[in-house]
Protein backbone atom coordinates (compact mmCIF):
# COMPACT_ATOMS: atom_id res chain seq x y z
CA UNK A 1 0.00 0.00 0.00
CA UNK A 2 2.73 2.44 0.97
CA UNK A 3 4.39 1.78 -2.39
CA UNK A 4 1.37 3.24 -4.14
CA UNK A 5 1.87 6.59 -2.48
CA UNK A 6 4.32 9.06 -4.03
CA UNK A 7 7.44 9.66 -1.95
CA UNK A 8 6.90 12.24 0.77
CA UNK A 9 3.11 12.00 0.43
CA UNK A 10 1.41 14.58 2.60
CA UNK A 11 -1.56 13.38 4.64
CA UNK A 12 -2.41 16.85 5.92
CA UNK A 13 -5.12 17.62 3.30
CA UNK A 14 -6.77 14.25 3.98
CA UNK A 15 -6.93 14.87 7.73
CA UNK A 16 -8.06 18.48 7.26
CA UNK A 17 -10.82 17.46 4.83
CA UNK A 18 -12.20 14.93 7.32
CA UNK A 19 -12.03 17.48 10.11
CA UNK A 20 -13.71 20.21 8.05
CA UNK A 21 -16.43 17.89 6.72
CA UNK A 22 -17.15 16.42 10.19
CA UNK A 23 -17.43 19.82 11.90
CA UNK A 24 -19.46 21.28 9.03
CA UNK A 25 -21.84 18.31 9.20
CA UNK A 26 -22.33 18.78 12.96
CA UNK A 27 -23.07 22.49 12.44
CA UNK A 28 -25.43 21.79 9.54
CA UNK A 29 -27.13 19.03 11.56
CA UNK A 30 -27.76 21.26 14.58
CA UNK A 31 -28.98 24.22 12.54
CA UNK A 32 -30.88 22.05 10.05
CA UNK A 33 -32.82 20.10 12.70
CA UNK A 34 -33.68 23.26 14.63
CA UNK A 35 -34.80 25.16 11.54
CA UNK A 36 -36.52 22.10 10.01
CA UNK A 37 -38.56 21.63 13.19
CA UNK A 38 -39.41 25.32 13.28
CA UNK A 39 -40.58 25.41 9.66
CA UNK A 40 -42.54 22.14 9.95
CA UNK A 41 -44.15 22.69 13.33
CA UNK A 42 -44.23 26.37 14.18
CA UNK A 43 -44.97 28.22 10.95
CA UNK A 44 -45.01 31.97 11.36
CA UNK A 45 -45.70 34.82 8.90
CA UNK A 46 -42.94 34.75 6.32
CA UNK A 47 -41.61 31.34 7.40
CA UNK A 48 -42.02 29.84 3.92
CA UNK A 49 -40.03 32.73 2.46
CA UNK A 50 -37.33 32.19 5.07
CA UNK A 51 -37.30 28.46 4.30
CA UNK A 52 -36.81 29.19 0.60
CA UNK A 53 -34.01 31.58 1.52
CA UNK A 54 -32.30 28.81 3.52
CA UNK A 55 -32.45 26.61 0.41
CA UNK A 56 -30.50 29.16 -1.64
CA UNK A 57 -27.05 27.57 -1.06
CA UNK A 58 -28.31 24.50 -2.93
CA UNK A 59 -29.31 26.57 -5.96
CA UNK A 60 -26.57 29.21 -6.11
CA UNK A 61 -23.08 28.44 -7.40
CA UNK A 62 -20.62 27.87 -4.50
CA UNK A 63 -18.68 30.92 -5.69
CA UNK A 64 -21.67 33.09 -4.75
CA UNK A 65 -21.69 31.58 -1.25
CA UNK A 66 -17.95 32.19 -1.00
CA UNK A 67 -18.37 35.77 -2.12
CA UNK A 68 -21.25 36.32 0.34
CA UNK A 69 -19.15 35.03 3.25
CA UNK A 70 -16.21 37.20 2.13
CA UNK A 71 -18.46 40.26 2.06
CA UNK A 72 -20.10 39.38 5.40
CA UNK A 73 -17.03 38.32 7.36
CA UNK A 74 -14.06 39.80 5.45
CA UNK A 75 -11.60 42.06 7.21
CA UNK A 76 -13.34 45.20 6.00
CA UNK A 77 -16.88 44.05 6.89
CA UNK A 78 -18.37 45.23 10.21
CA UNK A 79 -18.40 41.65 11.57
CA UNK A 80 -14.86 40.90 10.39
CA UNK A 81 -13.51 44.16 11.79
CA UNK A 82 -15.27 43.55 15.14
CA UNK A 83 -13.91 40.00 15.46
CA UNK A 84 -10.45 41.23 14.63
CA UNK A 85 -10.53 44.10 17.04
CA UNK A 86 -11.95 42.26 20.06
CA UNK A 87 -10.69 38.71 19.61
CA UNK A 88 -7.82 39.11 17.13
CA UNK A 89 -9.66 36.52 15.06
CA UNK A 90 -10.14 36.32 11.29
CA UNK A 91 -12.30 33.78 9.49
CA UNK A 92 -10.74 34.46 6.09
CA UNK A 93 -7.68 32.34 5.12
CA UNK A 94 -8.36 30.25 8.21
CA UNK A 95 -9.57 26.64 8.06
CA UNK A 96 -12.56 27.64 10.21
CA UNK A 97 -13.66 29.57 7.12
CA UNK A 98 -13.81 26.29 5.18
CA UNK A 99 -15.97 24.81 7.96
CA UNK A 100 -18.43 27.71 7.80
CA UNK A 101 -18.54 27.63 3.99
CA UNK A 102 -19.11 23.85 3.92
CA UNK A 103 -21.77 24.08 6.65
CA UNK A 104 -23.69 26.77 4.76
CA UNK A 105 -23.55 24.78 1.54
CA UNK A 106 -24.65 21.57 3.34
CA UNK A 107 -27.39 23.14 5.47
CA UNK A 108 -30.27 22.89 2.93
CA UNK A 109 -29.76 19.12 2.66
CA UNK A 110 -30.33 18.55 6.40
CA UNK A 111 -32.99 21.23 6.67
CA UNK A 112 -35.18 19.88 3.87
CA UNK A 113 -34.94 16.26 5.04
CA UNK A 114 -35.58 17.18 8.69
CA UNK A 115 -38.50 19.43 7.82
CA UNK A 116 -40.11 16.69 5.71
CA UNK A 117 -39.45 14.10 8.44
CA UNK A 118 -41.06 16.25 11.15
CA UNK A 119 -44.10 16.93 8.94
CA UNK A 120 -44.69 13.23 8.34
CA UNK A 121 -44.74 12.12 11.97
CA UNK A 122 -48.06 10.91 13.35
CA UNK A 123 -48.89 13.67 15.82
CA UNK A 124 -51.10 11.34 17.92
CA UNK A 125 -47.95 9.53 19.10
CA UNK A 126 -46.62 12.77 20.55
CA UNK A 127 -50.01 13.53 22.07
CA UNK A 128 -50.01 10.09 23.70
CA UNK A 129 -46.54 10.72 25.13
CA UNK A 130 -47.71 14.03 26.56
CA UNK A 131 -50.47 12.27 28.49
CA UNK A 132 -47.78 10.14 30.18
CA UNK A 133 -46.53 13.18 32.09
CA UNK A 134 -43.56 13.76 29.80
CA UNK A 135 -42.18 17.26 29.46
CA UNK A 136 -42.22 18.82 25.97
CA UNK A 137 -38.43 18.39 25.70
CA UNK A 138 -38.72 14.78 26.78
CA UNK A 139 -41.42 14.13 24.15
CA UNK A 140 -39.16 15.70 21.52
CA UNK A 141 -36.10 13.64 22.45
CA UNK A 142 -37.87 10.33 23.15
CA UNK A 143 -40.65 10.35 20.55
CA UNK A 144 -40.33 13.02 17.87
CA UNK A 145 -36.62 12.76 17.20
CA UNK A 146 -36.48 8.93 16.96
CA UNK A 147 -39.46 8.97 14.59
CA UNK A 148 -37.86 11.64 12.41
CA UNK A 149 -34.38 10.09 12.62
CA UNK A 150 -34.31 8.12 9.32
CA UNK A 151 -35.08 11.30 7.39
CA UNK A 152 -32.62 13.39 9.40
CA UNK A 153 -29.91 10.76 8.99
CA UNK A 154 -30.40 10.67 5.23
CA UNK A 155 -30.03 14.43 5.13
CA UNK A 156 -26.96 14.33 7.36
CA UNK A 157 -25.20 11.77 5.18
CA UNK A 158 -25.92 13.90 2.13
CA UNK A 159 -24.57 16.91 4.03
CA UNK A 160 -21.35 15.08 4.89
CA UNK A 161 -20.92 14.00 1.28
CA UNK A 162 -21.47 17.56 0.11
CA UNK A 163 -19.05 18.97 2.71
CA UNK A 164 -16.35 16.43 1.72
CA UNK A 165 -16.62 17.60 -1.89
CA UNK A 166 -16.82 21.32 -1.11
CA UNK A 167 -14.43 23.34 -3.21
CA UNK A 168 -15.57 26.68 -4.60
CA UNK A 169 -16.87 28.44 -1.50
CA UNK A 170 -14.08 27.09 0.73
CA UNK A 171 -11.40 28.11 -1.76
CA UNK A 172 -12.71 31.67 -1.79
CA UNK A 173 -13.05 31.96 1.97
CA UNK A 174 -10.14 29.90 3.28
CA UNK A 175 -7.74 30.02 0.34
CA UNK A 176 -5.52 27.06 -0.48
CA UNK A 177 -2.65 27.45 1.96
CA UNK A 178 -0.52 24.30 2.21
CA UNK A 179 -0.55 22.86 5.74
CA UNK A 180 -3.16 25.31 6.96
CA UNK A 181 -6.26 25.46 4.79
CA UNK A 182 -5.54 23.14 1.88
CA UNK A 183 -8.22 20.43 1.79
CA UNK A 184 -8.30 17.32 -0.41
CA UNK A 185 -10.34 18.94 -3.17
CA UNK A 186 -7.97 21.92 -3.23
CA UNK A 187 -4.84 19.80 -3.35
CA UNK A 188 -6.33 17.84 -6.26
CA UNK A 189 -6.97 21.14 -8.08
CA UNK A 190 -3.42 22.31 -7.37
CA UNK A 191 -1.90 19.01 -8.46
CA UNK A 192 -3.77 19.09 -11.78
CA UNK A 193 -2.83 22.74 -12.36
CA UNK A 194 0.81 21.99 -11.71
CA UNK A 195 0.73 18.97 -14.03
CA UNK A 196 1.27 16.43 -11.21
CA UNK A 197 -1.25 13.96 -12.59
CA UNK A 198 0.05 11.02 -10.53
CA UNK A 199 -0.48 12.88 -7.28
CA UNK A 200 -3.93 14.02 -8.43
CA UNK A 201 -4.91 10.42 -9.20
CA UNK A 202 -3.78 9.19 -5.77
CA UNK A 203 -5.73 11.98 -4.06
CA UNK A 204 -8.82 11.20 -6.14
CA UNK A 205 -8.62 7.54 -5.11
CA UNK A 206 -8.17 8.43 -1.44
CA UNK A 207 -11.10 10.84 -1.41
CA UNK A 208 -13.36 8.36 -3.23
CA UNK A 209 -12.50 5.42 -0.97
CA UNK A 210 -12.79 7.50 2.21
CA UNK A 211 -16.13 9.09 1.32
CA UNK A 212 -17.74 5.85 0.18
CA UNK A 213 -16.62 3.93 3.26
CA UNK A 214 -17.68 6.64 5.70
CA UNK A 215 -21.11 6.88 4.08
CA UNK A 216 -21.54 3.11 3.99
CA UNK A 217 -20.48 2.61 7.61
CA UNK A 218 -22.61 5.44 9.00
CA UNK A 219 -25.60 4.29 7.00
CA UNK A 220 -25.17 0.81 8.50
CA UNK A 221 -24.70 1.84 12.15
CA UNK A 222 -26.61 5.06 12.52
CA UNK A 223 -29.93 3.95 11.06
CA UNK A 224 -31.94 2.70 13.99
CA UNK A 225 -33.67 -0.02 12.02
Amino acid sequence: MTNLLPAGFDWFPVVLSLKVAALATVLALAAGVALGWLFARKPFPGSSILESFCMLPLVLPPTVIGYAILVAAGRRSPLGAWLREHFDYTLIFNWHGAVVASAVVALPLVLKSASAAFSNIDRTLEAAASTLRQSRWSVFVRVTLPLAWPGILAGTLLAFARAMGEFGASLMVAGSIPHRTQTLSMSIYDAVQAGQDDLALVLVLITSVLSVSILAVSNRYLSLR
Binding site: L70, R75, R76, I92, F93, S176, Q193, A194, G195
Partner: protein, 249 residues
Protein backbone atom coordinates in the same frame (compact mmCIF):
# COMPACT_ATOMS: atom_id res chain seq x y z
CA UNK B 1 -40.03 19.41 -48.08
CA UNK B 2 -39.26 18.89 -44.43
CA UNK B 3 -35.85 17.50 -45.28
CA UNK B 4 -34.92 20.56 -47.31
CA UNK B 5 -36.03 22.73 -44.42
CA UNK B 6 -33.59 20.90 -42.15
CA UNK B 7 -30.90 21.34 -44.78
CA UNK B 8 -31.56 25.08 -44.82
CA UNK B 9 -31.34 25.20 -41.06
CA UNK B 10 -28.04 23.34 -41.10
CA UNK B 11 -26.62 25.70 -43.68
CA UNK B 12 -27.82 28.70 -41.68
CA UNK B 13 -26.13 27.32 -38.57
CA UNK B 14 -22.92 26.61 -40.47
CA UNK B 15 -22.72 30.02 -42.15
CA UNK B 16 -21.39 32.03 -39.19
CA UNK B 17 -18.69 29.41 -38.73
CA UNK B 18 -17.58 29.83 -42.33
CA UNK B 19 -17.65 33.63 -42.19
CA UNK B 20 -15.44 33.63 -39.08
CA UNK B 21 -13.29 30.76 -40.19
CA UNK B 22 -10.27 32.42 -38.61
CA UNK B 23 -10.76 32.52 -34.89
CA UNK B 24 -7.47 33.15 -33.15
CA UNK B 25 -7.14 31.82 -29.60
CA UNK B 26 -4.51 33.61 -27.55
CA UNK B 27 -3.48 32.17 -24.18
CA UNK B 28 -1.80 34.97 -22.27
CA UNK B 29 -0.36 35.45 -18.78
CA UNK B 30 -2.88 36.96 -16.32
CA UNK B 31 -0.87 40.18 -16.05
CA UNK B 32 -1.55 40.87 -19.75
CA UNK B 33 -5.35 40.88 -19.21
CA UNK B 34 -6.07 44.58 -19.71
CA UNK B 35 -3.47 45.29 -22.40
CA UNK B 36 -4.35 42.22 -24.52
CA UNK B 37 -8.10 42.84 -24.24
CA UNK B 38 -7.53 46.24 -25.84
CA UNK B 39 -5.00 44.93 -28.36
CA UNK B 40 -7.35 42.08 -29.32
CA UNK B 41 -10.03 44.59 -30.32
CA UNK B 42 -7.50 46.66 -32.32
CA UNK B 43 -6.30 43.55 -34.14
CA UNK B 44 -9.88 42.56 -34.98
CA UNK B 45 -10.53 46.09 -36.30
CA UNK B 46 -7.66 45.91 -38.77
CA UNK B 47 -8.22 42.28 -39.71
CA UNK B 48 -11.94 42.16 -40.68
CA UNK B 49 -13.64 38.80 -40.34
CA UNK B 50 -11.15 37.43 -37.84
CA UNK B 51 -11.91 37.17 -34.15
CA UNK B 52 -9.50 37.02 -31.26
CA UNK B 53 -10.45 34.83 -28.31
CA UNK B 54 -8.43 35.57 -25.19
CA UNK B 55 -7.70 33.10 -22.42
CA UNK B 56 -6.01 34.52 -19.33
CA UNK B 57 -4.55 32.54 -16.40
CA UNK B 58 -1.27 31.92 -14.62
CA UNK B 59 1.41 31.00 -17.20
CA UNK B 60 1.85 27.55 -15.63
CA UNK B 61 -1.88 26.86 -15.89
CA UNK B 62 -1.85 27.90 -19.55
CA UNK B 63 1.09 25.59 -20.24
CA UNK B 64 -0.83 22.75 -18.61
CA UNK B 65 -3.89 23.46 -20.80
CA UNK B 66 -1.66 23.56 -23.87
CA UNK B 67 -0.03 20.23 -23.03
CA UNK B 68 -3.47 18.67 -22.58
CA UNK B 69 -4.41 19.68 -26.12
CA UNK B 70 -6.28 22.95 -25.66
CA UNK B 71 -6.86 24.49 -29.12
CA UNK B 72 -4.52 27.46 -28.69
CA UNK B 73 -2.83 29.48 -31.45
CA UNK B 74 -0.61 31.90 -29.54
CA UNK B 75 1.00 31.49 -26.11
CA UNK B 76 2.42 34.43 -24.11
CA UNK B 77 4.09 33.62 -20.79
CA UNK B 78 5.26 35.94 -18.01
CA UNK B 79 8.60 34.15 -17.62
CA UNK B 80 11.24 32.32 -19.62
CA UNK B 81 11.08 29.07 -17.61
CA UNK B 82 7.47 28.33 -18.57
CA UNK B 83 8.16 29.05 -22.26
CA UNK B 84 11.32 26.90 -22.06
CA UNK B 85 9.12 23.99 -20.99
CA UNK B 86 6.64 24.71 -23.80
CA UNK B 87 9.49 24.67 -26.33
CA UNK B 88 11.10 21.52 -24.95
CA UNK B 89 7.72 19.72 -24.97
CA UNK B 90 7.32 20.92 -28.60
CA UNK B 91 4.04 22.66 -27.70
CA UNK B 92 5.15 25.89 -29.37
CA UNK B 93 7.25 26.63 -32.41
CA UNK B 94 10.64 27.71 -31.00
CA UNK B 95 11.42 29.61 -34.21
CA UNK B 96 8.62 32.09 -33.57
CA UNK B 97 9.57 32.71 -29.93
CA UNK B 98 10.74 36.16 -28.95
CA UNK B 99 10.49 38.50 -25.96
CA UNK B 100 7.96 41.28 -26.52
CA UNK B 101 7.59 43.14 -23.20
CA UNK B 102 9.34 43.56 -19.86
CA UNK B 103 7.93 44.28 -16.44
CA UNK B 104 9.06 44.68 -12.83
CA UNK B 105 7.98 43.11 -9.56
CA UNK B 106 6.66 45.39 -6.82
CA UNK B 107 5.47 45.00 -3.24
CA UNK B 108 2.01 46.49 -2.75
CA UNK B 109 -0.13 47.23 0.30
CA UNK B 110 -3.82 48.19 0.54
CA UNK B 111 -4.34 51.94 -0.05
CA UNK B 112 -6.09 52.36 3.30
CA UNK B 113 -5.32 51.04 6.81
CA UNK B 114 -2.09 49.40 5.69
CA UNK B 115 0.99 48.87 7.86
CA UNK B 116 3.91 51.17 7.06
CA UNK B 117 6.32 49.29 4.81
CA UNK B 118 9.37 50.78 3.14
CA UNK B 119 11.82 47.84 3.14
CA UNK B 120 11.43 44.07 2.71
CA UNK B 121 12.63 43.75 6.31
CA UNK B 122 9.45 45.57 7.45
CA UNK B 123 7.46 42.52 6.33
CA UNK B 124 8.81 40.59 9.31
CA UNK B 125 7.05 43.00 11.70
CA UNK B 126 3.99 41.93 13.71
CA UNK B 127 1.77 44.45 11.86
CA UNK B 128 2.08 42.29 8.73
CA UNK B 129 0.03 39.15 9.34
CA UNK B 130 -0.48 37.93 5.80
CA UNK B 131 1.40 38.33 2.54
CA UNK B 132 -0.13 37.18 -0.75
CA UNK B 133 2.21 35.51 -3.26
CA UNK B 134 1.54 33.61 -6.49
CA UNK B 135 1.58 29.79 -6.27
CA UNK B 136 5.14 28.67 -6.93
CA UNK B 137 4.19 25.77 -9.18
CA UNK B 138 2.18 27.76 -11.70
CA UNK B 139 2.54 31.53 -11.17
CA UNK B 140 5.76 33.16 -12.48
CA UNK B 141 5.26 36.19 -10.17
CA UNK B 142 5.43 33.73 -7.24
CA UNK B 143 8.80 32.44 -8.41
CA UNK B 144 10.18 35.94 -8.98
CA UNK B 145 9.01 36.73 -5.43
CA UNK B 146 10.86 33.71 -4.05
CA UNK B 147 14.06 34.77 -5.83
CA UNK B 148 13.78 38.31 -4.48
CA UNK B 149 13.07 37.18 -0.91
CA UNK B 150 15.77 34.51 -1.01
CA UNK B 151 18.24 37.13 -2.16
CA UNK B 152 17.21 39.22 0.87
CA UNK B 153 17.46 36.15 3.13
CA UNK B 154 13.80 36.48 4.18
CA UNK B 155 12.01 33.66 2.36
CA UNK B 156 12.10 31.18 5.24
CA UNK B 157 11.20 33.77 7.88
CA UNK B 158 8.19 35.07 5.95
CA UNK B 159 6.87 31.71 4.73
CA UNK B 160 4.34 31.25 7.59
CA UNK B 161 2.65 34.50 6.52
CA UNK B 162 2.11 33.49 2.88
CA UNK B 163 -1.30 33.11 1.29
CA UNK B 164 -0.84 31.52 -2.13
CA UNK B 165 -2.92 32.80 -5.02
CA UNK B 166 -3.89 31.16 -8.33
CA UNK B 167 -2.60 34.03 -10.42
CA UNK B 168 -0.93 37.38 -9.97
CA UNK B 169 -4.34 39.01 -10.43
CA UNK B 170 -5.68 37.10 -7.43
CA UNK B 171 -2.80 38.50 -5.35
CA UNK B 172 -3.85 41.96 -6.55
CA UNK B 173 -7.47 41.25 -5.59
CA UNK B 174 -6.55 40.00 -2.09
CA UNK B 175 -4.54 43.18 -1.42
CA UNK B 176 -7.17 45.50 -2.94
CA UNK B 177 -9.85 43.97 -0.69
CA UNK B 178 -7.59 44.37 2.34
CA UNK B 179 -7.74 40.63 3.16
CA UNK B 180 -3.93 40.57 3.24
CA UNK B 181 -1.48 43.24 4.40
CA UNK B 182 0.88 43.03 1.45
CA UNK B 183 1.46 41.18 -1.81
CA UNK B 184 3.90 40.84 -4.70
CA UNK B 185 2.58 41.74 -8.16
CA UNK B 186 3.91 43.35 -11.34
CA UNK B 187 4.05 47.13 -11.62
CA UNK B 188 1.48 46.93 -14.44
CA UNK B 189 -0.99 45.09 -12.14
CA UNK B 190 -0.63 47.70 -9.41
CA UNK B 191 -1.40 50.40 -12.02
CA UNK B 192 -4.75 48.73 -12.84
CA UNK B 193 -5.96 49.29 -9.27
CA UNK B 194 -4.22 52.57 -8.58
CA UNK B 195 -6.97 53.74 -6.19
CA UNK B 196 -7.00 50.58 -4.08
CA UNK B 197 -3.35 49.58 -3.71
CA UNK B 198 -0.14 51.46 -3.05
CA UNK B 199 3.33 50.48 -4.28
CA UNK B 200 5.65 50.15 -1.28
CA UNK B 201 8.84 49.22 -3.12
CA UNK B 202 10.29 47.65 -6.24
CA UNK B 203 11.73 44.18 -5.62
CA UNK B 204 15.35 43.42 -6.51
CA UNK B 205 17.45 40.31 -6.85
CA UNK B 206 15.24 38.26 -9.18
CA UNK B 207 15.86 37.37 -12.82
CA UNK B 208 14.65 40.19 -15.09
CA UNK B 209 10.93 39.91 -15.90
CA UNK B 210 10.54 39.51 -19.66
CA UNK B 211 7.56 37.99 -21.49
CA UNK B 212 8.16 35.58 -24.38
CA UNK B 213 5.47 34.89 -26.99
CA UNK B 214 5.29 32.11 -29.58
CA UNK B 215 2.93 30.36 -32.02
CA UNK B 216 1.56 27.01 -30.86
CA UNK B 217 2.79 23.94 -32.77
CA UNK B 218 -0.76 22.62 -33.28
CA UNK B 219 -2.22 25.98 -34.32
CA UNK B 220 -4.58 25.73 -37.29
CA UNK B 221 -4.17 29.41 -38.10
CA UNK B 222 -0.40 29.80 -38.16
CA UNK B 223 -0.39 32.63 -40.71
CA UNK B 224 -2.89 34.64 -38.68
CA UNK B 225 -1.02 33.85 -35.46
CA UNK B 226 2.17 35.12 -37.09
CA UNK B 227 0.36 38.31 -38.09
CA UNK B 228 -0.78 38.79 -34.48
CA UNK B 229 2.84 38.49 -33.30
CA UNK B 230 3.95 41.01 -35.93
CA UNK B 231 1.09 43.31 -34.90
CA UNK B 232 2.47 43.43 -31.33
CA UNK B 233 5.62 45.03 -32.75
CA UNK B 234 3.77 47.85 -34.57
CA UNK B 235 3.96 51.41 -33.15
CA UNK B 236 0.21 51.39 -32.42
CA UNK B 237 0.44 48.19 -30.35
CA UNK B 238 3.65 49.32 -28.61
CA UNK B 239 1.86 52.49 -27.58
CA UNK B 240 -0.93 50.48 -25.92
CA UNK B 241 1.54 48.21 -24.12
CA UNK B 242 3.50 51.23 -22.95
CA UNK B 243 0.35 52.93 -21.69
CA UNK B 244 -0.30 49.90 -19.45
CA UNK B 245 3.25 50.20 -18.13
CA UNK B 246 5.04 47.43 -20.03
CA UNK B 247 8.64 48.01 -21.07
CA UNK B 248 10.35 47.24 -24.37
CA UNK B 249 12.92 44.41 -24.29
Amino acid sequence: MRRSRYACLLIALALPVCAHAAELTVSAAASLTNAFTELGKQFEAQSPGDTVRLNFAASGTLLQQLSQGAPVDVFASADQATMDRAVSQKLVDGGTRHDFVTNSLVLITPAQDAPQISTLQDLTGAAVERIAVGKLATVPAGRYTRQALQAAGLWGTLEPKFVQADSVRQVLDYVARGEVDAGFVYRTDAAVMRDKVRIALTAQGHTPVSYPIAVATDSRHKALAGRFLDFLGTPAARQVLQRYGFGTP
